[in-house]
Every structure is written in structure tokens, then in C-alpha cells.
């Protein structure tokens, strides 16, 4: 099974500064999707950004961008101009795009990184 590792249980950043959250994954597949989800105190899972493995260009969504290194199996999330509302648990997740149809939908999550934003 695929594994997703987030080595930083906690991170903190000053408001308006930039922070990078790390994620590595292990897979033998060549085609897959990677995601970052945000979970605020309300516990809802909110999709922040996604990356298709076949695309070399790093995904960007406003202040959120990723650094996708396929050979290194690394997928970090950069949050620029951090805001108080960015404080949340962030989960990295993997989803296969190949193989048996029944496994296409399953997400594999890392353990999460708790981000604190200081004013």
C-alpha cells in the first residue's frame, strides 16, 4: 500500500511570513494525484491544492503553491503571506490514477502537520 509521511507534527509561522510544510510518499506507480487538505478547528476537510503526477509544472492556488519533486517523491506545500485563518491541521494525501478501477478513489493520508499562525 502507498504510504504518505509528514515529518513535521507541528509548525508555526508569523503572520505575513512564508512557511513550508513537508510531505513525502512511497509508491511504485507512475501516475497519481497528490493533495493538500486543510482541517480547521471545525474539523471539516477542505481541499487546498492538487497536483497531477504527470504534470511537471507545480500547482499554484493564490497564496498556496507546491514543490513537487517526482523523483524524490516529495510534495511540499508553501503558504505565502500567512494569515491567521491559515491556522489548521494540514494533511498531505495520495490517490492512484492507475490500476484496478476499484482502487482509484481511495485517498492515503499522512498524519498531518498542525500549523499555528502568530499575530
Amino acid at each position: 500500500a502507498q504510504t504518505v509521511t509528514q515529518s513535521q507534527p507541528e509548525m508555526s509561522v508569523q503572520e505575513a511570513e512564508t512557511v513550508t510544510l513537508s510531505c513525502t510518499y512511497d509508491t511504485s506507480e507512475s501516475d497519481y494525484y497528490l493533495f493538500w487538505y486543510k482541517q480547521p478547528p471545525s474539523r471539516q476537510m477542505i481541499l487546498v491544492i492538487r497536483q497531477e503526477a504527470y504534470k511537471q509544472q507545480n500547482a499554484t492556488e493564490n497564496r498556496f503553491s507546491v514543490n513537487f519533486q517526482k523523483a524524490a517523491k516529495s510534495f511540499s506545500l508553501k503558504i505565502s503571506d500567512s494569515q491567521l485563518g491559515d491556522a489548521a491541521m494540514y494533511f498531505c494525501a495520495y490517490r492512484s490514477a492507475l490500476g484496478r478501477g476499484s482502487t482509484l478513489g481511495r485517498l492515503y493520508f499522512g498524519r498531518g502537520t498542525q500549523l499555528t499562525v502568530w499575530p
Binding site: 474539523r43 471539516q44 492538487r50 494533511f91 490514477a97 476499484s102 478513489g105 485517498l107 492515503y108 493520508f109
Partner: protein, 114 residues
């Protein structure tokens, strides 16, 4: 923006009781999922559901669990005889198709087994 709706938001039940967690997926979505998150731990896949049958289930999804789409709009997770270790946040999710980039999660049901 369309939402996945889960009810109740919090359920307390006694050990051994049956519980049904309810979800209303986004109306044009065809793939449905349940995940759970034990407090402080990672989010874990339970089951995926398509075309009125289970597509995949994890090792967690044993005979105590079942899913159903009884009326074309609701998607339910039933736990037949709850155990203390079933206490967790349960998330429902849906997607338009299997190639969707990501899917939409509901806000979760916190299940507490006492």
C-alpha cells in the same frame, strides 16, 4: 457551492448499540466514500461505493459496518454493535467520477461511544 451534508454533527451512543450516520452527497456525484479519524490520528479510508455496491473496503470495514444508499439521495454508514474504539470523527465524501482530482468532504459526525 454544493456541499456534502452529514447528520448528526455529534452522536453519543452506548457500547453495543447500533448507530446510523447519514450523509447527503452532492446531487450529481456518483462515487461515495466514508473515512474516519480517531482523535489525534490520521484520516483512514473505510469504504467506497459506486453503482449501489461497495467498490473497495479497508481492513477496518469489517462485518460490523455496512453502507447503503436507500433512496437515491442519502448515503448511510451503519455500525451494528459499537465498541469504544469506534469513537472517532466519521467523514462522508463524494466525487463526480473516479478521475476527479479530489472529492468533497462533509463536515463530519463525531461519534462518541460510552
Amino acid at each position: 457551492e454544493p456541499e456534502v451534508t452529514q447528520t448528526p454533527s455529534h452522536q453519543v451512543t452506548q457500547m453495543g448499540q447500533e448507530v446510523i450516520l447519514r450523509c447527503v452527497p452532492i446531487s450529481n456525484h456518483l462515487y461515495f466514500y466514508w473515512y474516519r479519524q480517531i482523535l489525534g490520528q490520521k484520516v483512514e479510508f473505510l469504504v467506497s461505493f459506486y453503482n449501489n455496491e461497495i467498490s473497495e473496503k479497508s481492513e477496518i470495514f469489517d462485518d460490523q459496518f455496512s453502507v447503503e444508499r436507500p433512496d437515491g439521495s442519502n448515503f448511510t454508514l451503519k455500525i451494528r454493535s459499537t465498541k469504544l474504539e469506534d469513537s472517532a470523527m466519521y467523514f462522508c465524501a463524494s466525487s463526480a467520477d473516479r478521475f476527479a482530482y479530489g472529492y468533497t468532504f462533509g463536515s463530519g459526525t463525531r461519534l462518541t461511544v460510552v
